[in-house]
Symmetry: C2
Subunit: 114 residues, 2 copies
């Protein structure tokens, strides 16, 4: 578990923990875009914006490809699978805990009163 | 959108971007635990561990309550809703984009060949 967390979930959650990076993801969810289009709505120096793209690329959330002078970014939706799997696993765990608690309370209720 | 992201998603994703904090969540998913039980498996000074619990509490992921000398932590599973909602929204967006792309390719295929 620890290894899986260190290798994929930590950089992934870090990549998502920033409003600029989430805005880039939201734009790329509609389809690939050149870096210049992505940078345009953000009031930020280009080098700072490129660092955000780097973080996303390093976390495997996006890929980028240069053709001539234009670098185009593409979302990798499959990158979110570890996040979804982690959420699903935790949800299953606490649902199970709630079910056990509820069964326990039912059993207490059915016990003959002292 | 920007406000919603700044207020809830950023601290939430930050809270999840650490293996110790995720391990605490995984333990608490099975039910409330005293701080001492939570700290035990982590090879870490108690003040450092308490900082992790603070981060989780500030992000709304856990609550804690002191009774006598024992502080007990409880998971707030509803805290994950913004994360799940964000993932669902992005998934809907890129599924829509894929559907439109596929419809476009179908239309191209049906066009009379030159």
């Amino acid at each position: 578990m620890a290894n899986e967390s260190v290798d994929t979930l930590t950089p992934l959650f870090n990549a998502l923990a920033d409003p600029t990076r989430r805005a880039v993801i939201e734009t790329l969810a509609a389809g690939p875009r050149p870096v210049s289009d992505l940078a345009f709505p953000h009031d930020m120096a280009l080098p700072s914006f490129l660092k955000h793209l780097d973080r996303l690329e390093q976390a495997g959330v996006i890929t980028s490809k240069k053709a001539g002078r234009v670098r185009t970014c593409t979302l990798r939706p499959e990158a979110f699978e570890p996040v979804q799997n982690w959420l699903d696993r935790e949800r299953a765990r606490w649902s199970g805990a709630l079910d056990r608690l509820s069964a326990h309370l039912d059993a207490l209720e059915k016990e003959p009163k002292q």
